[in-house]
Symmetry: C2
Subunit: 209 residues, 2 copies
C-alpha cells in the first residue's frame, strides 16, 4: 500500500511526520516522501531538512495521498504538485491534507463544494478555493479527508488507520506511539483558548500554518 | 536559547519532531539538530532522512537538550553521544528525553535514583540503568524531564514551554500547532488500551520505541 507524502521547501515538519509516524506502522504500508525535485527540503523554521526520496513522476498511483502544509504552500508556485494531486486523486483510495495542505487540495479543485478544514487562521483562503470551512479537527467527505492545524494529522491518520486496517490495528498503532495526550492546557483550538491568546496568535499570524 | 536535539540512524522521527515543532516556536529559540557525524540520518522505518546540521562538538552548552528514541538507541554504540550528554547536562537548564531516548540519559548516569519514564515496553531496560520507571506521560525531576513513548514529546515540550516562557506563550504555541487532540480511541496507554491490544503490541515488540 503506497502512501505518498509530498514535501516542498518551508513545509511544516509535524504536518508530515505525524501522519507518517502512524501510517508507516500499518501492515503492508510503504510511505514515500515525494517532491517535484527530490532531495532535502528545508522546513518552515529553517532548522531542519526532510529528504524527499522520489520525484512526483515516480509515484503516480498512490493508494493514499497526504498533503502537509506550511508557509511553503503559499510562497512558491506549485503547478507541478497541484497537477500531480489532481491526477493521483483520480485513482487514490483517500486524498487527504493536514493544515494548509488543504490549500493545495483546493487549488487542485478537489474541495469544491465540500466541507473541509485547515489551520484556523486560513479559513478565508480555504473558502476562496470553493470549500466550506468547518472548525472540526478531522473532516471526512467521502474519500477526501482534511485535518486542522499541524498536530491534527496524528488524529486524522489514526482515523485513516481505522478505515483501512480496522479498530484493532488502529488501537495498536495508537498504543505503539503512546498517543495518550495530556497537554498542560486546554488551549489547542480557537474555541477553547482564552480570547487574548487567540488574538495574540492571530497577530503573530501566518507563520503558524 | 540553544535547543539541541541529537539525531542518529534509526531514530523515531516523531520523538524528535514533536518537541522541535513546539520549542522552535518559543521566542529566541534556536533549535539545532546535532549528531556525532553530521548529515542525513535515516529514521527507524527507513522511509525518511532527517538532516543533522551540526557535529556534537559544535554545540557544547545548549540550554535545553532533547534526546529522542528509536531502535537506533539500542542497535549501535553511542559512546560519543553519551559523553556529550554527560557534558551538556552539566550546564543545561533542562536535560530531557522522549521515548527510549531515556536509555541514553540512563547510560549517561543522569537517571540514577530518579523517577523517569520511557516507552512502556522498555521499563525493564530503564530500571537496569538505575532509574525508577513510572507510567506517567511526563516525569519532572528537577531539571531532568523524561517523556513516555513517541507522541509524548509534544506534551513534554508544551510543559517546557510553560516553564521557560510562561503560561501565555505555552498556550499560544499550543494554539498555533492546534494541539487539541481527539484520537478516535482511548487506547494510547497500556492502562487504557484493551488487554488484547496491549498483548498484540507487546508481541510486535521492540520496533515501537
Amino acid at each position: 500500500m503506497q502512501i505518498a507524502i509530498p514535501l516542498f521547501d518551508r513545509v511544516t515538519a509535524l504536518d508530515a511526520i505525524g501522519p507518517y509516524e502512524v501510517l508507516s506502522r500499518l501492515p503492508g504500508a510503504e510511505v514515500l516522501f515525494v517532491a517535484a525535485e527530490p532531495g532535502p527540503k528545508r522546513t518552515d523554521t529553517g532548522a531542519l531538512a526532510l529528504t524527499a526520496e522520489r520525484g512526483l513522476g515516480e509515484v503516480l498511483k498512490p493508494e493514499i495521498v497526504v498533503v502537509p502544509g506550511g508557509r511553503g504552500t503559499r510562497d512558491q508556485p506549485h503547478e507541478e504538485l497541484v497537477a500531480w494531486i489532481q491526477q493521483a486523486h483520480q485513482t487514490s483510495r483517500y486524498t487527504t491534507s493536514v493544515c494548509t495542505g488543504a490549500l493545495l487540495l483546493g487549488a487542485a479543485g478537489i474541495l469544491d463544494g465540500l466541507r473541509a478544514t485547515t489551520h484556523w487562521l486560513f479559513f478565508d483562503q480555504l473558502r476562496a478555493l470553493g470549500a466550506e470551512p468547518t472548525l472540526e479537527r478531522v473532516v471526512e467527505q467521502g474519500k477526501v479527508i482534511t485535518a486542522a492545524g499541524v498536530s491534527s494529522g496524528i488524529d486524522m491518520a489514526l482515523r485513516l488507520a481505522q478505515l483501512i486496517a480496522g479498530d484493532d490495528v488502529a488501537q495498536a498503532v495508537q498504543l505503539s506511539i503512546e498517543y495518550d495526550p495530556q497537554p498542560p492546557f486546554d488551549a489547542g483550538s480557537p474555541d477553547k483558548a482564552p480570547e487574548p491568546i487567540v488574538q495574540l496568535v492571530r497577530q503573530l499570524g501566518a507563520t503558524a500554518g
